[in-house]
């Protein structure tokens, strides 16, 4: 099987060995930087979206990186990362494995399109139920209340 790893992410000393391990399973790595419309097109064309830690720090979970993926029902395969409060709500809507298991996980899920579609749709439903308006309601209300108190 000829595989292509498209890239919107940057390579570094932490990520390089992981990407090489995936490449060793027969995957060809192609990693152009992409944003905006180009990134959206790449997401649309991709079977698996791979999410890696930036520098090995375990507590990061960057929704700014994943929001486009969840919104568009992409199948996300992620290295384990993040604290439970951040990643917990999304566990059913993505696959999270240790870095050493990523090469096998890539091969496993590439061969299971229906399972990928189901998990991607679950991720979308979870995300769609957590609207930004709902997230901001209380903080904005407190800001308005605080501003009102300072003006009076």
């Amino acid at each position: 099987m000829l595989c292509v790893v498209g890239g919107a992410g940057t390579n570094n000393d932490y990520r390089r060995p992981i990407l090489h391990a995936i490449a060793a399973t027969g995957v060809t790595i192609h990693a152009p930087l992409a944003f905006g419309e180009r990134l959206r097109t790449l997401v649309q064309r991709s079977r698996i979206v791979l999410n890696l830690r930036s520098f090995g720090n375990a507590d990061e979970f960057k929704m700014s990186r994943l929001m486009l993926m969840f919104a568009n029902s992409a199948f996300v395969l992620s290295e384990d990362m993040g604290v439970e409060g951040d990643v917990g709500p999304y566990r059913e809507g993505m696959v999270i494995v240790p870095a050493r298991d990523l090469p096998n996980a890539v091969q496993y899920y590439l061969q299971r399109p229906l399972l990928r579609a189901k998990i991607g749709e679950t991720g979308h439903q979870i995300f769609a139920a957590r609207t930004q308006a709902a997230m901001l309601r209380d903080p904005v209300a407190k800001l308005v209340q605080r501003a009102g108190c300072q003006q009076s």
Binding site: V5, S46, L143, Q150
Partner: protein, 71 residues
Amino acid sequence: MISPAVSLNRCWFLHHALCRILFDHSSNYNKWRNQYGVSATLVPIGFVPGLMVAPRIAEEEKDIDVLFIGE
């Protein structure tokens, strides 16, 4: 969303102005609260319909097996 590299003078201003610092994940939120004493609010990133921008295509039309994302 805001790097700790931002100057502490700016933090002081933000802390004492009407503005509040909003973070989207716990690690930054805890770091700023615990290490810099900044009053912060944790606001997770949520869904907005405008993010749905890529119409789904059939499996056989997908030509990238793995897309690597991340800044």
